[in-house]
Symmetry: C2
Subunit: 243 residues, 2 copies
């Protein structure tokens, strides 16, 4: 891996907030959805962190993590029930008051009609001066504050709201090619090491497909330049054939 090129890339952290993820009740598919999207845009996800619905922990981790990345994506905890503490936590993390956002209130009143009540309107209480992220499916918006994008944990909502923020994110070239092989890691690890030395700007990964009947391992070659990916793969294959 070429550290200098990595460092010039935008970085992201995925912050998942929710007891239901920590206790195993729910399988977290959201952070993989985001990881995949960000990877394809050439943004490096440098960590994924899951924390409980505990306000002090959320505040602390928002402060710490937002300082060490270009974009922080938070998911979970922006509903109206007492276990939803993310809106308050982001306000506190950035020393902002939590205030009723007039535009959020207007959108929610229009969407909910007669069902609107003070409980639902809690979801319009947001850090002062944040930017709204439209929620086409259920109206209660997400929000952007500083470098943080704050989204709900419900996958259907999260995924539709990603489309609303995508245009705000950089898009840089990134190339990954995959290669399946029947060789074992114990046979090609030294070849992989040599190719990795020759192509430091290509990140090579090796992943056993333990119980897959079709192949034994999958290799990935990833870089910001397509030619380097191709060259590294060609070199690897040539050395494998000569083994």
């Amino acid at each position: 891996m070429n550290d200098s090129s990595i460092k010039t890339r935008p970085t992201a952290i995925i912050l998942v907030i929710g007891n239901e993820i920590l206790n195993g009740k729910t399988l977290d598919t959201n952070s993989r959805f985001f990881a995949d999207k960000l990877f394809m845009r050439g943004i490096n996800v440098i960590r994924r962190l899951t924390i409980p619905d505990t306000i002090d922990i959320i505040i602390e981790e928002v402060r710490k993590n937002s300082q060490i990345c270009d974009f922080l994506f938070s998911m979970g905890g922006i509903g109206p029930t007492p276990d939803d503490l993310t809106r308050q936590a982001f306000a506190d993390a950035f020393n902002l008051p939590l205030v009723r956002n007039p535009e959020a209130e207007r959108i929610m009143r229009e969407y909910c009609g007669e069902r609107i009540n003070e409980i639902r309107l809690r979801m319009a209480d947001l850090p002062e001066n944040c930017e709204l992220i439209p929620n086409p499916n259920s109206s209660a918006p997400g929000f952007i504050i500083n470098n943080c994008f704050v989204l709900p944990g419900v996958p259907e909502l999260l995924e539709s709201m990603y489309e609303e923020i995508e245009h705000k994110l950089p898009s840089l070239p990134r190339f990954m090619k995959k290669m399946k092989t029947d060789f074992f890691e114990g046979d090609y690890a030294d070849i992989m090491e040599e190719v990795q030395r020759k192509f430091p700007e290509v990140q090579i990964g090796s992943y056993p497909a333990f119980s897959n009947p079709d192949y034994n391992n999958e290799l990935t070659f990833e870089s910001y330049e397509e030619t380097r990916v191709n060259d590294a793969m060609a070199e690897f294959n040539m050395m494998l054939k000569d083994m």
Copy 2:
């Protein structure tokens, strides 16, 4: 949530090591497997963290995280290829030399027979004086060092190796009951808040089932005492009926 009872519970951190998780190539099912198992044993998972195959980051996070929990479970990066840096990182994190473990070597030689080679034997290079975790499916062991259980990322291996360490972990009572409802969060959030106030030792969660045709929300009631779970649920249902 009753903080004092939570604090007396054993705590765990799940550390996932691997670029393939960060870049979205692979869906992480391992940490949910562990989260579920640990929850059922009454152990509180206080965070889940995914980091890249970068040795300095692994060392730093192992040091930091192992100090703030009773048990750290690491998964990924103990294979023989150059992107497998977890064995070295754990040795460095605890200022131990990485040495060929004679018992691990013996097991691997017996399992691999003629296929054994110096590359495969890298997987027997482990932090000095660690305890081995048997790997019934492919011989290369995991290991225990201080309060850290170091396991592979391949789900089939990880899951079978969990059975080898389960007897080392505490098992404390924990009760969770779930309840599906057609009410909306915006209708019952204040009831939930009142019940939560009356039963601080019961953790109540509310989870929208957005596109599920069968119900609108699922509630969870969790505690270390079964009677408190039952009482909180009964109270909630009574108030909901009176609404």
